[in-house]
Every structure is written in structure tokens, then in C-alpha cells.
Symmetry: C2
Subunit: 209 residues, 2 copies
């Protein structure tokens, strides 16, 4: 079957995962790289105006992918009761959670009909590690949001999330936190983004672990 | 086997669910009722100082239960990209999410060794409804946080969450949102809180649906 060439925006395209996602999809589609400090399009997920500008700059799109999102890793003992802004959860909520949710909401209004949105979480939503409670919180939030948003997306738009385990390429830095976890290559994780963009499902959590 | 009489704080004790939880546990334990506008102890989960005062007022405790938490229900179309404070997700994040997380963190520092914390989510983390995307987001966040916090709790403390489906008692108001959902009585949902408090597991999501 001959495939239509899609216009795809990859946010976080300079990261280990984002690079692999862009490489996988660029074989068949037009991929635009976006990032906070690199890429042809600059985007800061914590800044709603920056999201809007980036989508406008990208022009017509069939898919928006986020392979971005920061959270704070810290022992639970370091988390004190604190309001938003003072809590150690603030970074994760502002960046990986609301940043991706706001990207999805902006993409909902911008994508061509039948387009897709793909966000990123990670194994910690299901399988916790020490010092990962904020990452777990954020990943769990994004996954449940995606499941819910999928049933209300207009114009045939789809939304999914990819939840990879720790990446082979990240093990030099992360191995002490992920002892016993079987890592996957970024290239293998990237296949899940291809499934989301080039498949037909919506509301899915594609687990790569 | 003879059971030890526990001192239990129930937050949201005047609600449909909280009342049933308090009634279930008061048969065997000392239950203190807490609420925003009622109960012997006043507590506002969005106010960290209020949480601290309430725990101090309650004195020594073996269990803290939250059957409280507000979120905004609105169609996805009403959610615009917006930062914390302006987003329609703000209430849910400040109240049901960070409110319960902060209650758990404060309880971690306050409970007697071997005590338990039980939070509340709901079926929407797994099974979405129209206009429920913020509730889903918040419930997913709380569940993943509980799973993660459980592996780092000090002094033998346990933490679980109860996820009930819609309550029989709430159907007069909520039926249009939950067509086809099989409701459970608050009394039946309350049993899951008993399992959490009087059982021995931690990091569990007790689903009542």
C-alpha cells in the first residue's frame, strides 16, 4: 500500500529518544525538529505562547509528537507538604505534565483533520523506583489524561502516549536508579511512536518494556 | 483475634463516601471526623498550614484517610492551553491532587510507626467519561504517586488508594455522566478503606468497580 507523506512535528528532537523518533519517521515522512535550545523550531513547553508560536511556524501538520518533559528526581523524604510553586512536584507538573497537556490542547486546535498527538511518559507510572515519586505522579497523570482526552477529540484526531522503560543509551547515567530493569534501545522505543502516528488507534498507552 | 483500637482521622467525613467510611471504621476504632466546613476538626487540603494544624489537633494517629478532593468537570473543548493558575486543571491539581499528596506527606511525618495513609481517586483514571479529562488526569496522578511513595515510606508506614466507581447515592446527580456504569453503595466502597487501614498491604489501588 502506498503511504501518504505526513508533516510531523517532533518536540524534544535533539534528545536521545527524540532523535530516534525523528530518524524512524523521517524515512517516510517530513519531520520538523523542535526543541528548547535546538531544532529548526524553538519551543518551551512551559510557555503557552511559545507552544502557539511553534505550531504556527510549523504550518500544516498531521502529527505532533512530544519526546520532552522534565521532572524532579528526589527522595520522598525531601518532599515536604507545599503548595504549587514551592513543592518539589512543581517542575514535573509545569513541564512534563501541563507542558505536554498544553501541547496536546494546542495541537487539537491546529492539526489537520485525522491527525495524531503522541505524548511520552515512562515505566515509572507503573513500576516505581526510589526518588521517582514525582516522575510517577506526572506519568500517571499524562496517561490518564490521554485515555480521557481520546474520547473527546474533535475532527477524527487521535491521541496516544508512549511509555518506554529506561533507554540503553541512558544507562551510563541512570543505571544506579534502574538496577534490574531491562533497558530498550531508543530505536526500539521509536517504533511505538510510529505505531501511534501511522496506526489507527486512539487512547492507547504503548508500553515499551 | 483481638484487634487493637486505632485512632483514625477521616478527611471529608461529611461527604457521602466519608460518612460511610467513618461508620464502617467507628464500629471498631476511634474515628475523628475532619472537613472543610464540618467535623470536629477543620481542614482545607489546599492549605498546607491547615493540614498541619488539623493533624496537630488530632493528636496521635494510626491512620489518615482522605475521602475528599475537588476537580473541574468540563468538556475537553473548554480546556485551552494555559499555565497553572489559569488552566481548568488548576482546581484538580491544587485540591484533589496536591491536596491529597500534601496530606500524605504531612501524615508521613505525623503518624505512629506502622500507621497507614489511604487516599481516594475514582474509576475515571481507567475508564473515561465525557467532560472528565481533568478528573482522569488527577486520579491517574494520585494512583501513580501512591504506588511510588509506598516504596519509600519510613517507619513501616503504608499508603494505599481506593478507587471507587460512581456511588449509588450520587446517581441522582451524576447519572447522565455515568450511563451504563454500575454504581456501588458507599457502604460497599467503605470496605476498601477498611482493607487499607486494617490490612497489611501497601502501594495498592483498591478498585471498587
Amino acid at each position: 500500500m502506498s503511504e501518504r507523506r505526513l508533516r510531523i512535528l517532533v518536540v524534544g528532537a535533539s534528545g536521545t529518544l527524540g532523535k530516534a523518533v525523528a530518524a524512524e519517521l523521517a524515512q517516510r515522512h517530513e519531520v520538523m525538529a523542535a526543541g528548547r535550545n535546538s531544532g529548526s523550531i524553538r519551543i518551551d513547553l512551559t510557555d503557552v505562547q511559545s507552544i502557539g508560536h511553534a505550531l504556527k511556524q510549523a504550518g500544516e501538520l498531521d502529527a505532533v509528537i512530544s519526546a520532552a518533559g522534565n521532572v524532579t528526581f528526589a527522595p520522598l523524604a525531601d518532599f515536604k507538604p507545599a503548595p504549587y510553586g514551592e513543592s518539589l512536584h512543581t517542575l514535573g507538573i509545569a513541564d512534563k505534565l501541563l507542558g505536554q497537556v498544553n501541547l496536546a490542547l494546542a495541537a487539537r486546535d491546529h492539526l489537520r483533520g485525522g491527525g495524531s498527538i503522541t505524548l511520552t511518559t515512562g515505566i515509572l507510572s507503573e513500576q516505581p523506583i526510589v526518588a521517582g515519586s514525582s516522575a510517577s505522579l506526572v506519568n500517571g497523570a499524562v496517561e490518564a489524561f490521554v485515555r480521557a482526552a481520546a474520547v473527546e477529540m474533535p475532527r477524527g484526531l487521535r491521541i496516544n502516549v508512549v511509555s518506554p522503560t529506561v533507554l540503553v543509551e541512558a544507562m551510563p547515567a541512570y543505571a544506579p536508579f534502574f538496577r534490574g530493569y531491562e533497558p530498550v534501545t531508543a530505536a526500539r522505543a521509536a517504533l511505538a511512536y510510529s505505531r501511534s502516528v501511522e496506526g489507527a488507534q486512539t487512547g492507547q498507552i504503548y508500553k515499551v518494556f
